[in-house]
């Protein structure tokens, strides 16, 4: 079943077309890779899909309970509420907050009570807070971060920060999760662990994952389908095997051994 349909998506910065005419579909519960040379427009594409940038042209539709919603013109937070979550290429945690609070903020829209209940501490407030903490701890446990719930996010090692960002995104209860270079800065061993983790959450949380990554061991291992971008255009699209065999992709991106 189609979850997201993107057509002719284009983003121009001055004279530069960072993304041009990209078509893309995303089905329920699949793992998709997005690769391409540096500056190909991958991050920009994510930014368009999550409302950080507004596209110059094209359409983005999200299928929800059988009805189609256009994401064009929606704010980032509205898109997030529709079930689209992401992580960032340069980690953007709430650095001075604890690990637990980072996740609880992700849970805010799901459980948070309104301003008045918070100001006046109604019984509902205490219930909601408890539930939120409980669920946050549960999520952290999945990623083996529960031990560090009280740490300030900025004091976590790099690898943990990347994982925490994923937990935080998952907390919003998304249907689609966009991960921008989750393995950057990790050593090969940590990358392998991450690969397993991505597979696991895709299953456990029933979601579709789109992943930008330059580490081919990760991409080829987890993705069912891969899109390749070059100069803002779609260069190729197919299974990992097809992509590996695609001469164009090898020329533009993978390089020969």
């Amino acid at each position: 079943m189609t979850l997201m349909k993107v057509e002719k998506l284009t983003k121009n910065f001055g004279g530069l077309s960072a993304v041009s005419g990209v078509d893309l579909t995303l089905k329920n519960k699949e793992l998709v890779g997005l690769i391409g040379p540096n500056g190909a427009g991958k991050t920009t594409l994510f930014n368009l899909l999550t409302g950080v940038y507004s596209p110059s042209e094209g359409s983005i539709d999200l299928v929800q309970d059988g009805t189609t919603v256009s994401l064009i013109g929606k704010r980032t937070d509205q898109i997030a509420e529709l079930g689209v979550a992401r992580t960032f290429q340069n980690i953007r945690l709430f650095k001075n907050l604890t690990v637990l609070d980072n996740v609880r903020i992700g849970l805010h829209n799901k459980y948070g009570v309104n301003t008045f209940s918070s100001l006046l501490r109604t019984p509902g407030f205490y219930r909601a807070e408890e539930k939120m903490t409980e669920e946050a701890m549960k999520l952290l446990e999945v990623f083996a971060l529960d031990e560090k719930a009280d740490y300030l996010a900025k004091n976590l090692p790099y690898g943990d920060q990347r994982r925490l960002e994923i937990v935080r995104a998952l907390a919003t209860d998304p249907k689609i999760l966009f991960l921008d270079e989750p393995a950057a800065g990790m050593n090969p061993r940590e990358s392998v662990e991450l690969t397993q983790l991505i597979r696991q959450i895709q299953k456990e949380f029933d979601l579709s994952v789109v992943l930008i990554e330059h580490d081919m061991s990760v991409v080829m291992n987890v993705c069912e389908r891969i899109y390749v971008l070059e100069h803002g255009r779609l260069l190729a699209h197919g299974t990992p095997e097809e992509i590996r065999a695609n001469k164009e992709v090898v020329r533009a991106y993978l390089g020969g051994e």
């Binding site: 910065f13 530069l16 690769i35 391409g36 040379p37 540096n38 500056g39 190909a40 991050t43 290429q89 340069n90 090692p157 790099y158 690898g159 270079e181 950057a184 800065g185 990790m186 050593n187 090969p188 061993r189 940590e190 990358s191 392998v192 662990e193 330059h214 081919m216 533009a252 991106y253 993978l254 390089g255």
Partner: protein, 234 residues
Amino acid sequence: MLQVKNLTVHYGVIEAIKEVSFEVNEGEIVTLIGANGAGKTTILKTISGLVRPTAGEIVYQEDIIQKATPRAIVQKGLSHVPEGRHVFSGMSVMENLEMGAFLRRDKKAIRQDIKKVFDLFPILEERKDQDSATLSGGEQQMLAMGRALVSKPKLLLLDEPSMGLAPLFIEQIFRIIKKINEEGTTILLIEQNAAVALEIATKGYVLETGRIVESGAGKDLLQSEAVQRAYLGA
């Protein structure tokens, strides 16, 4: 060329580096590898004068430099490509490169060296008037490297230069590193990508929580079982 002797560095009360000693000889590529948080970046920052050590000595070309300012150290021909790129956002690509040549006076030669950087990274030439803040991650990495090269260093400190680069480009960047090394620049390299780094390194050191636990020729280390297990996840 560079000797680090019994270096100890503290962040507040935390001891990030503990009595580390190593040596880089002229013409070598030396690599430091280690897990996240092992202290690699801290060592580079201490060498270039951004962080002050609590104990130990750093000798660069006969000069003791652990008390010198970064400016003085740069003047001696040492250049540092920091972790996380740190391009001057708000300045164009070209201006960033010019900043790399801040201490140089030879205008003509600078222009030639910038040209050389553009040959190495053609995409930078295409983007030369673009605000460096809006470059893609990989482009910024190239810019940071190019900027260091313009200063014509004798010793180049590289902190994870391959981070965020496309595979094709990682190959290229290591080729470039090798090339500049062959052209006479000594290199101290930090890499997560231990396999590739050790491949080109003359020698390597393995760092674990602020201590050097193993060292040897690059190729030998690559074979070492400890390295294999701990960092390559084989």
